[in-house]
């Protein structure tokens, strides 16, 4: 994406604007990221960084991945 979001929440908002169906898949109606969805900044789980307020360095790669505890 070619935007310059400062924090993760901004990047997600930009993503939701492009693909409106994604918002409800990633977060529930209270705005919380769903329990078994992990968001990674590079290799790091943002849970252990700043959550949705994690600051994004330039050229960040964000991955949204369901948990391995599946099935």
């Amino acid at each position: 994406m070619q935007a310059s979001p400062g924090i993760l929440a901004d990047a997600l908002s930009a993503l939701y604007a492009l693909y409106p169906g994604i918002r409800d898949r990633v977060t529930n109606e209270q705005g919380q990221v769903r329990e078994h969805i992990n968001i990674f900044l590079g290799d790091e789980d943002v849970r252990y960084a700043g959550g949705l307020a994690t600051i994004l360095p330039p050229n960040s790669e964000i991955s949204i991945v369901p948990a391995v505890s599946g099935g």
Partner: protein, 706 residues
Amino acid sequence: MIGQVLGHYRVVEKIGEGGMGVVYRAFDETLCRDVAIKVVRKTARTDSSANQNLLSEARASSALSHPNICTIYEVAETDGELYIVMELVEGKTLRALSGSIGVAPESVFRYGAQIAAALARAHDKGIIHHDLKSANVVVTSSGVVKVLDFGLAKRAGSALLEGPTQSFASAQDASSISGTLHYMAPEILRGEPADGRSDLWALGIVLYEASSGQLPFAGRTGFEISAAIMRELPKPLGPPVPPGLWAVIQRCLSKEPAERYQRATEVQAALEAIQWGATAPQSPAPDSGTIQPIVLHGVKHARIKYGDFVLLVGTTKGAFILRSNTLRTRWEVGGPYFHGNCVYAMAYDNRAGRRRIWASTANYWGTLLRFSDDFGKSWTNPLEAPLRFPADAGVSLKNIWQITVGRPDEPDVLYCGVEPAALFESRDAGETWSLVRGLFDHPHRPRWLPGNGGLALHTVVLDPVDHRRMYVAISSGGVYRTTDAGLTWTAQNRGIRAMFMPNKNPEFGQCIHKIAMHPAHPERLFLQNHWGLYRSDDYGENWKDIANGVPSDFGFAIIVHPRNPDCVYIVPVESDQFRCSCDGRLRVYRTRNCGASWEPLSRGLPQKLAYETVLRDALVADSFDPAGIYFGTRSGQLFGSRDEGRSWQKILDGLPAISCVRAAFVEEAPGSSASKQAPVATRNSSRERSSSSRSRSPSSRSRKKR
């Protein structure tokens, strides 16, 4: 005023007028620069404390330094006049630029991103604008946006709050006072405190206005405008407004603050992304209500036509649709639909000429309610979950446990029972759903405890005659009944044990597994409990133990025979510890005397090493005569009986764990007389149950061979 000197400012000319006062161009004789001075109208000030508030607010705002914020230099009082000295911004207001058709989308992006940036800076410093409107946004000749009057509106007096009750004698009045009303967020009209998100609402209005030249919420009186803001949806903006921009505007204009963007930087990022990124979004319909059908490729479909009999089987890893004819001997299997998803609930709606299959699909990405009108070839694929808790509920949807089709004479009504325990209702055939608050706000709610599968409202039973009465069952909360169409609910558990509580007969909190009712006897209910089998003969007022001669009174499923209201089927389970059939024998039990005695039905069912569980929604009867009974096990086996349970055949095995089974007869086209009757093979005999007649259903004909 012209030519006057205020402090070290010489007033040159009037340049405008607003709700607070008149704005002049002035010359700063000390710093030799042009400035703008707003002289605050005396009527806008109520007393000297208001002055003090205005001063302190302006002081805070003067600390805002940002290219898109009109800087405040000074606020002072001279000779009783209160004035605000600020940066002189020359350009056109966004109101003037928008006119009646709006500006080009590229401009909307550019201006919108700058306004959002201004809001972001102010919100960071704890300052809410309170009065963002297109008249407060000035665009300079170089395209730079300046937002005026940060934070000042709140303290300028009560003129703003009179808006809703005023009507407007002239356009002048309207623009000075209602100009603000049009931008007011619903929560402010409700008297709640404003926060940054109220500014984002106003931004949504500004973007709408800039895109179209129209205000989304309008009216001739303050009252009409307020009503529109609170209740109406804005008229959608189509081309040339790009769908992405409309999506951003819609989200800013969510009535619930929690559903809007939460921060101005999010709006800014969204606008910038659309402006730079993206080629138009792939999914063509950005508004959350639009349903895009999904066709599941690579799924085997059963070819279903009128006159067929269908079993809907929901499992923990997808849904299956089985098709047979009225003989129900050979089955064609379609599915798995939504493979990998938990399909806890399914339902068939054949009211009003529909042939609609409902299913809930759950995975890590959430729980969605979907339907198919073509027997599974295509399904709805909502952008947003149709069932969602409102922001103030404080909980989010975990699962849909039950989909209940409403009464035949209310063909557009449906109910869903969900986890965490709550009831949702739709009155428009499932387009929109609302939380039944009478139950959600019940004072018992905080004390309901989760059962083994979670805190779930899993059963909905409707009184067919009295439309105001219905029952729900909650694990582990108990049976609740309403007699006023859902406004109020009462716990109806007298006589039902809770073995896991210190008081074995509490008012509520029992872990009810299922209740069942026959429409011919709405006063009579049967109940399978977490330990206990009960019957009520008085609409749930009192429950009587009917565990007479069953190997275990633990179990999940319970159903009433379609035509015999005294006849009930259960599948006993050994215990809560073991949760499998007793003694390794899979047996259905039946009573034909309302529970006075029970008899096992096991012919054709495994009687050795059969440790099976039938979950609460996995037992169903069809409406044939004789009745067919079907059940699915947690080990993925599906059994059926065509002779009311006397003998059983295995229909299918190897499925994933079966959570629900539903039966449906696919009627002829609406209007045909055949479609109204129960599917008896000859179609002109109806309710006789004697099996000696030759004109019985084909299955009994084949039995006569012995």
